[in-house]
Amino acid sequence: MIQYGDTMILFEDGKPKQFITVTQGQTYQNKYGAYHHYTFLVKPGEEILSKNGTGPIYLMTPNPHLITETVPHKTQILFMADISMIILKLCLKPGQRVIESGTGSGSLSCSLAAAVGHKGRLFTFEFNKERANNGKELFAKLKINQATCFWRDVYTNGFLKGDDVENQGEFPQENSVDAIFLDLPQPWLALDHSKKMIKKGGRICCFSPCIEQVQKTALELRQQGWKNLETLECLKRHFERRVKQEQSLFDDVQKKVCTDQNKRVTYSSGINQAYGHTGYLTFAQYI
């Protein structure tokens, strides 16, 4: 059952629309009318109608996939295709410890945190102060207690506890993390720091939009002795169903006889809008 204080994902017109924190006394308003928050105290996924009895909305429990589709982002974010591959190829398991930099919108952070579970830990570092604060708020709101967000320039200061007093919470220790993910314009500048943190056998992933970044990263990874390098890209494509009435060329001409008039066939077709590129993922293992 949904409780007051829970942050849920609101489905409107069949699609995830936004986060909503269920709050006593509040009202949600959309084109279908008003919804009292007390009507939200149902099971996740149950139909909720507006005061007018129209416009069914649904509140869903936030999960990593839905968070990615809902998280507010002003800029490029990591999407599902990349996130899926990152989680799988970093071989994340419950209980592990992971470093991420930067936090960005927090879209990937939530997936990383889910993958290491409540027994694991995510240490995520962000250079931009506003985004770092957003990250902290997001984790608090979604009760992702295993994640800590730090505001820091990791090129200069790395991942260990330092002099920056504003950063609270537990820091990762040397040679203690199982995986590191870098979404930085110059990941090669953070590899020395990364090597210090990673366990033997641990894995790293660098995300870069441009091939020149990938080339520099791969060179530096090899020079530092990382093994099993792999660079890949992964794109997602959606399909839709189209119901067509099969029309005969001859019907059309003669306009008299119409064969198979009611024959409707369902076909599937790709949707032509898609991302042609997000970035390259480069993986390596520290052996």
Binding site: K74, P209, K244, L249, F250, V253, S269, G276, H277
Partner: protein, 358 residues
């Protein structure tokens, strides 16, 4: 040097990489990008020249440098100082806080030239000064692209005729992406004296490609979807190709389906582009195709191609039935910023090809 003659169709490609195909004649008014201008100005001028629409909506010639200065096309060297920013996010970040309201910008547009509008817009950007040099350069290009309207004049080709139609409405071409058209042509292997039976539901684009290749030395019996009411002139792409009389004569428009069977010789090709009822066409006309003939079908639906593949296979008259699709992606190639383009047409349709044997 070839000169643009009266009543020729030309392709205008603008500084946003969009295109429009127009017929050029004296005092011919054209509407594009919210401007209305006389394209007759370019008459008797050379192809591959560059033009700008000024604030009085007059078309004036400019240099290629002036053109590219207002374009953020990838064929330019971007010589802005690239500071690599602290996060990857900024590479794609073009948000702006603009003090000018939408109405103020519309007013500006009526009073000033494109470049002057860009200056005002930049002065009224709250965030411009905080941007990195790279972001500033990129922002400027984007604004110029938006507010300055210039174009180059190119000869029409199948490539730009397809592009113009496809940008306007991929549906009209049955979502046949440029690579599917290229594959269609290659799989068709049209040669001199081909005698082609063709079903085109792609607005005449595919017929045009076939006719250009045939160059008048053969014939194309063409069925369009709404064949009863159509005339070759109704198909814009065919006009836009500026075909000579010989080529136009090679395109035989079938208005009455019974005429298909009246052809004296067997057809060397059966080409179908788009959503007809394929099995019906095969059933009716496979016997009109010569032994050794080529069959090519384009469809948006894989299921339909497999349905017709089964039919062809069980006829015992075809072997090696290939069903395929393709993946096409453009790349940005710029110093330190090389990557596949983010915008992509992820779906291009499917093709079937086979040979009739006996």
């Amino acid at each position: 040097m070839e000169i643009i003659e009266e009543d020729t169709w030309v392709c205008l490609e603008d500084n946003r990489n969009e295109s429009k195909i127009v017929k050029v004649s004296e005092k011919k008014m054209v509407g594009w990008r919210k401007h209305k201008f006389d394209i007759g100005v370019i008459l008797h001028k050379q192809y591959n020249t560059f033009w700008k629409i000024d604030k009085s909506n007059t078309v004036v010639e400019i240099t290629s440098d002036q053109f590219y200065d207002n374009a953020d096309l990838d064929n330019q060297i971007d010589d802005a100082n690239i500071e690599i920013t602290k996060t990857n996010k900024d590479l794609f970040d073009f948000n702006d806080s603009q003090k000018l309201t939408q109405e103020e910008i519309i007013q500006l547009k009526q009073q000033k030239e494109g470049e002057e509008i860009v200056d005002e817009v930049i002065q009224n950007s709250k965030t411009f000064e905080q941007k990195t040099e790279f972001s500033k350069a990129k922002y400027l290009k984007r604004k110029k692209e938006k507010y300055v309207c210039c174009f180059m004049v190119l000869k029409t080709t199948i490539d730009n005729v397809h592009k113009t139609q496809f940008l306007e409405s991929p549906q009209k071409l049955n979502f046949m992406r440029i690579d599917s058209l290229a594959f269609f042509m290659q799989l068709s292997s049209i040669t001199q004296n081909s005698n082609i039976l063709m079903f085109d539901n792609a607005n005449g684009v595919v017929v045009s490609a076939v006719a250009e290749r045939l160059d008048g030395e053969g014939s194309i019996s063409t069925v369009f979807w709404n064949h009863s009411k159509s005339n070759l002139r109704d198909y814009l792409p065919i006009q836009q190709m500026n075909f000579n009389e010989e080529i136009l004569k090679s395109i035989k428009l079938i208005k009455n389906l019974e005429d298909i069977e009246k052809n004296q010789n067997k057809y060397t090709h059966l080409l179908i582009a788009g959503e007809f009822k394929f099995t019906e066409i095969i059933e009716k006309y496979l016997n009109l195709i010569a032994v050794g003939g080529i069959i090519v079908i384009f469809s948006t639906y894989l299921e339909k191609l497999h349905e017709v593949a089964e039919q062809l296979l069980s006829s015992g008259l075809c072997s090696k039935i290939d069903v395929l699709d393709s993946f096409l992606r453009y790349h940005q190639v710029l110093e330190n910023r090389t990557h596949p383009k983010v915008e992509m047409n992820a779906f291009g349709g499917y093709l079937l090809q086979t040979y009739k044997l006996k």
